[in-house]
Symmetry: C2
Amino acid sequence: MYAAMGALGLAPSEQDKEFAAPRPGDFALRGKGAAKVVILGAGVAGLTAAYELGKAGYDCTLLEAREKAGGRNLTLRAGDRLTELNGPAQEVTFGEGVYFNAGPGRIAPWMVTLDYCRELGIPIETFVNSNAAAYVHTNGQTMRARTARADMYGYVAELLAKATNIGALDKAITGDDQERLLEFLRRFGDLGPKLEYEGSERRGFTKFPAIDTGTPLQAPGPLHQILAAGTGRAITNDFGYDQATPMFQPVGGMDAIVAKLTDAVGQDRIRTGAKVTKVTTMADGVEVVWDGGAIKADYCVAALPPHVLAKIPHNLGAQITTALATPVPVAAGKIGLEYGTRWWELEDRIYGGVTETDLDITHIWYPSHGYHSERGVLVGYYNTEREAELYGALTPDDRRRRALTQGKKIHGEKYRQNILSSASIAWHRQPHIQGGWVRWPAFDSSFTLLQRPAGRVYFAGDWLTHLIAWQAGAMESARDAVTRLHQRVLRSP
Amino acid sequence: MYAAMGALGLAPSEQDKEFAAPRPGDFALRGKGAAKVVILGAGVAGLTAAYELGKAGYDCTLLEAREKAGGRNLTLRAGDRLTELNGPAQEVTFGEGVYFNAGPGRIAPWMVTLDYCRELGIPIETFVNSNAAAYVHTNGQTMRARTARADMYGYVAELLAKATNIGALDKAITGDDQERLLEFLRRFGDLGPKLEYEGSERRGFTKFPAIDTGTPLQAPGPLHQILAAGTGRAITNDFGYDQATPMFQPVGGMDAIVAKLTDAVGQDRIRTGAKVTKVTTMADGVEVVWDGGAIKADYCVAALPPHVLAKIPHNLGAQITTALATPVPVAAGKIGLEYGTRWWELEDRIYGGVTETDLDITHIWYPSHGYHSERGVLVGYYNTEREAELYGALTPDDRRRRALTQGKKIHGEKYRQNILSSASIAWHRQPHIQGGWVRWPAFDSSFTLLQRPAGRVYFAGDWLTHLIAWQAGAMESARDAVTRLHQRVLRSP
């Protein structure tokens, strides 16, 4: 019964069940002392590892090269100072209560991240990842997402209805199924009585119904025009299992996760500003040298990005060296634009969500919190690879200027007005991180090699999972490393 | 430029611009005293009328037959007592902080309701109206919405791609457009290299990707099976302009709108328990008799349901009598089921949203607030017409029993376990309301007749708009009545 439910997608995710967190009694029952673990990196993977190991009393020390814990889980607020490799520092001057998630910004409900929010008592709220009222900007044209979707669906339905009715599907499906299909298409495309797409109220209105029936948008262009608009990518953006509605965010900023993990682990266990320079695995332990000293421990969890780890001398062997150098860092960038008025709500009636574009800004995100408040931060670009490198190479002022020029194509002149401040990040220029995430040329033996320990060194990070670029990946990887490490410790004589 | 933007759906809704609220100086500037208005009904329409008239200093009195203001905007909490016509009363025993919006529960972002939330300082949060992880239950089968959608889209894309490739569209569209169409279909249906639907990760997983690539659901059934499942209505439920993602709700309960409007109007202006028995329009004013007295005023705003108004003797003429009797009350019902654990979050990973069914419960709503808290209220049915009459005719206990039997078909035995309390409403059995909303056989001369005043009596309510069953309709209608009334007062000598 349960297996059958699983096949139908009815059973709960097994994610949780697989992980049995270390427990306080695990050592005492076996008459052992708690092992000592040094963790490289206090990003989400490192913090999660420390948190889970801490449940059984492991003596963890985290070495973090940056000035504070969290890694890419970075929320910027007034008073923060953001430095970049080979670039000027930015002082963040947002208003009180205003924040900008410069790293991860959304959580899918099936992800383990949400379990940590629950366990750590972090309140969550909806992240609006799809908004019918947001825009699609492609090939120089701007329209509401609802309009783009209604037109594509309408014409697809009309074309398939036509093909059905001229007998093109007669060999493929029965007459009864054709009837069922036509019934679906009528609904799916909002087709007229002749099964033709003549526009639809789903496209939107210049004046919504109220006392009268309202003023629908003018009729859609012909199919050729709709296809030429090229909105396909934009309107299917939320189809993926990782992007589907609804998504979530911690109330008050993503770094609530960092704050709560840090509290649970103990701030005193995290040594910041500590850059690791050497890792040595030995028969009876590990030694980690950092720029302010050295530390000996029973085990090590290396939770740094692979391209950063790859530069640290070690004795883990040539295969490890090669494997660590395999994944390719991917550039990623974001800008937060703080406005003195939430014109996107007041004028555009856009409450959260994403405008998809084919411009180099790629996306504009509208905040999913603080609705109707005085100020708000838009994400003016969130781009990767070539576009992120392009923006990242600019000064912060020039990034902002370029982002505003692009956004104006969608929102008009108001996009450049009433801006109070901004902050931009180029993750590939962030000290000790140097990338938004990584891309594996193939999930090959290098990938699986690093999922296993090398001597007494365990690796952890989103880059060791199939959830790359998600905090859930970092957490899942940390859980896996913790499980392997803890089992070994309990097994060891 | 602005007109062009409007055509593209870029300009803000004109809803706001059309309404110029009465202002404090309107009377003083013209050397007039404030007029006196008696308002029948302190539902959302009556309260909005009083609120807007109050801005110019009108002396408003609201007569409300029920024990408290709000009408169908009703949020039930511990300590509330819900009476029904010809039925037992229910004592609401939800836990502290738990609530159930027994009436309206969601707001589309373009609706004027959100403007009132902003103006009145009512915090809002997302109402999840579409959830890929919620279920679709049709023809005895249950699957996740994401699965139902992926399969229908996949096969529709495959069929149209096939029809295109055998030349069925050659007369309809050019080769270039066929290429564009195929590119879209590949993306839309997640088709394989042969443009066939072979399943998709969009369907979901029994184990989501993490350390490994996860375990996708087993392959989809054949097209015949997918069509026979009849999920079409369920997966297009959020396509309408009034149901599209995202939607919103006031934090803490929908009745925050009632509370804030009441505060603004002045509780002392609302006489509850006052049933109107006669309305007389005269040359110089109106007289309204209620079961505890009579009141004279300059004007009247009749903001009761039409079928309730139709039973009150008046001197407004036979046409008005006929018109008021034209709209047909529609039955609507809801049940709130309070559970001691939020199993839908913990086990099903459903955070808010709606499961669509072809059962008589029609929908199950999961709460879009209080995530991860201890308790929660599901809406176990929200049905109308025949189904609402069926449930409404049962005792509260039997409604609950039936709702649980139906919900068990989707969620299994846990649906009947750990229930702490419940409360159900049959709107057609609510005193002085007697219907969920109304249906006009046609928006004909009776409809437009009542949009205009009859003597000194103005009508207001969602039933006088094309937003029937929405609070926005009540508010828009109230604004229209207020505008007409105020213009007349300012014009009068």
